[in-house]
Amino acid sequence: MYYVRYLVRYLQNEVLVLPSRVIVLVFVASLLAFPLLTQDPNILRTLIVTALFSLYAVSWDLLSGYTGQVSLGHALFFGSGAYASALLSSHLSLPPYATVPAGAAVATAAGLLVGLPCLRLRKHYLALATLAFPIMLTGFVLAFPGFSGGEGGVWRIARLTSTRVAEYYLILGVALGAVVVLWRVVESRVGLIFHAIREDETAARALGINTVRYKLLAFALSGLTAGAAGALYAHSSAARIVAPGVVLSLFMSFQPVIWTIFGGAATIYGPITGVFVLYPLLDTLNVVIPKYRMLVFALLVLLILRFMPQGISTWIRDAIERVCPSCRVRNIATRRACRACGAPLQAQSPR
């Protein structure tokens, strides 16, 4: 009973006062309740892929948005996770609960392996060096078709679950859990250090922070998350085949960048917003106007970035909420006085 009352009070005082938190709550609840509404396999499939890709986008945001180590080759982690689990499943016929962690572990190792040489590189050099890695892996996949399946890819991969709804809940659960864990990480001291490394690495080092260790941590965490997404993708009903043209392609590397910048970088909710807006949109366009889908998609991304260069979720959040000038607590934009310290909000000068 005490806990129920605590929960209600928490909801009233901390969640319902801010529109952005209400939106997150409603969003998660509606995702969980969605199969009650419809069990159309195509819609569920789109949502499964969207959930996986939001995990993938968050992993990019962690490395590049927070830590500032811009990676243009993130498909390496997604692809190595997908390939490792697909190969284990197809050659050794191991069950998914063994191959998915193995795929994630391989991607973590890939993250460390890429991170280690990239520690010395700065900014654009880093971005373009990382761009090279998935292309190199593609080259080797294509050069040894006997083992890797070559251009046609790996198939005969075990399904995660027997029904589509069970798969939906499994993947949604993993994605939600991982996002919550990552949120805790970036809200902690570690997240603060990530921000510091992005803003000024030399200054962070001068403060006694072992930036090498934290950069490697960011690479490993990002690889782990992207690899888990890739491994689940390989086993999901969305991908029957793991082929280099999909999971290791240049477009796969650029996609998380598009989603994250579109949604708002260095926020966990930004990339998720980006994926949940853009991926179903692209999927719908594919059905409605298949010939012009990428045309419309690119035009839309271009226009939104032109007018909201900080990303769509940041723009919306700034429109509906206001930071108290004296105590930095967020308030709904309609309030006249801050909910924590009572300082007047309307009087603040326009930013």
């Binding site: 010395r120 761009l131 090279a132 990428m294 045309l295």
Partner: protein
């Protein structure tokens, strides 16, 4: 074999050098990492295909294509890239969106099937005992002439001085009375002119298809960072190194056509282990 590597390597070097020079100029002056650069090269190849198949005279077709590319490119830069120029990640996505947009427009107008442009010259010439296709010669000559032209413009004219000043330090160049925004737009036009000429020059040699911008983009990015961002000499040398690496892998390694980009990029990464700032980059790049 050696002759093949030499001829093809030189042709690829010329093309990559033209692309890398334009890309490097735009990055150096505008600090814009223009991922759409090679998409304009692809559009130029389609432009020459279109004009050639509708029966325009070759010089007129070349002129129309390159002017069209420059006009479209500068308009795109002014409309969508300049307003967000300060935000690097946004620029990245905006230019990528432009590239995809160009690819899709080409797809709508010309379809997905690969196209071929009839060569301007056929036949072969004997150069020091090696048979070289005349079209390859033309491509190489176009590349050399445009590189010399670009070098002349950069080092011998007042505009070139302004461009180099803006590349060295944008703020100070602005204080010295150089209209930096205008110079950036001019450089964008110049870079795209080089890209358009490269596209025109390779159209008769390569298959013309909507996806033909991806591979050169990767190589050009690699060449520019290999040479050191901001160093024009470096990007030219990077382009030559990567072109010869690609061509030799194709000719010497079995299954090399799959591995050519992989090996070229491996060379780039190996150079980074020794010199993280590229061959000719300045090691204090952050102060620039």
């Amino acid at each position: 074999m050696v002759a093949n590597i030499l001829v093809n390597g030189l042709v690829y070097s010329g093309v990559y050098a033209m692309l890398a020079l334009g890309f490097g100029l735009v990055f150096g002056v505008g600090r814009v990492l223009n991922l759409a650069h090679t998409a304009f090269y692809m559009v130029a190849a389609y432009g020459i295909f279109h004009f050639a198949s509708t029966g325009f005279a070759m010089p007129l077709a070349v002129l129309l294509t390159s002017l069209g590319i420059v006009a479209v490119g500068v308009a795109v830069y002014k409309l969508v890239i300049e307003p967000v120029r300060e935000m690097e990640a946004t620029v990245l996505i905006a230019t990528l969106a432009v590239a995809v947009l160009l690819q899709e427009v080409v797809l709508v107008f010309f379809g997905n099937e690969p196209r071929h442009v009839p060569p301007a010259l056929t036949g072969f010439t004997q150069v020091v005992g090696v048979r070289v296709g005349n079209q390859e010669m033309v491509t190489l000559i176009v590349a050399v002439l445009s590189l010399i032209g670009a070098w002349f413009l950069l080092s011998r004219t007042k505009l070139g001085l302004a461009i180099r000043a803006a590349a060295q330090d944008r703020e100070v160049a602005n204080l010295m009375g150089i209209n930096v925004n205008l110079v950036t737009a001019v450089v964008m036009g110049l870079g795209l002119l080089l890209a358009a000429l490269a596209g025109i020059a390779v159209a008769p040699l390569f298959t013309v298809e909507p996806g033909m911008w991806m591979n050169p983009l990767v190589i050009v990015l690699a060449a520019v960072v290999l040479g050191g961002l901001g160093s024009l000499k470096g990007s030219l040398i990077g382009a030559v190194i990567l072109a010869f690496a690609e061509v030799s892998v194709v000719f010497l390694v079995p299954g090399g056509s799959y591995l050519r980009t992989a090996i070229a990029l491996l060379i780039m990464v190996c150079v980074f282990f020794i010199r993280p700032e590229g061959l000719y980059g300045s090691s204090i790049a952050e102060e620039r």
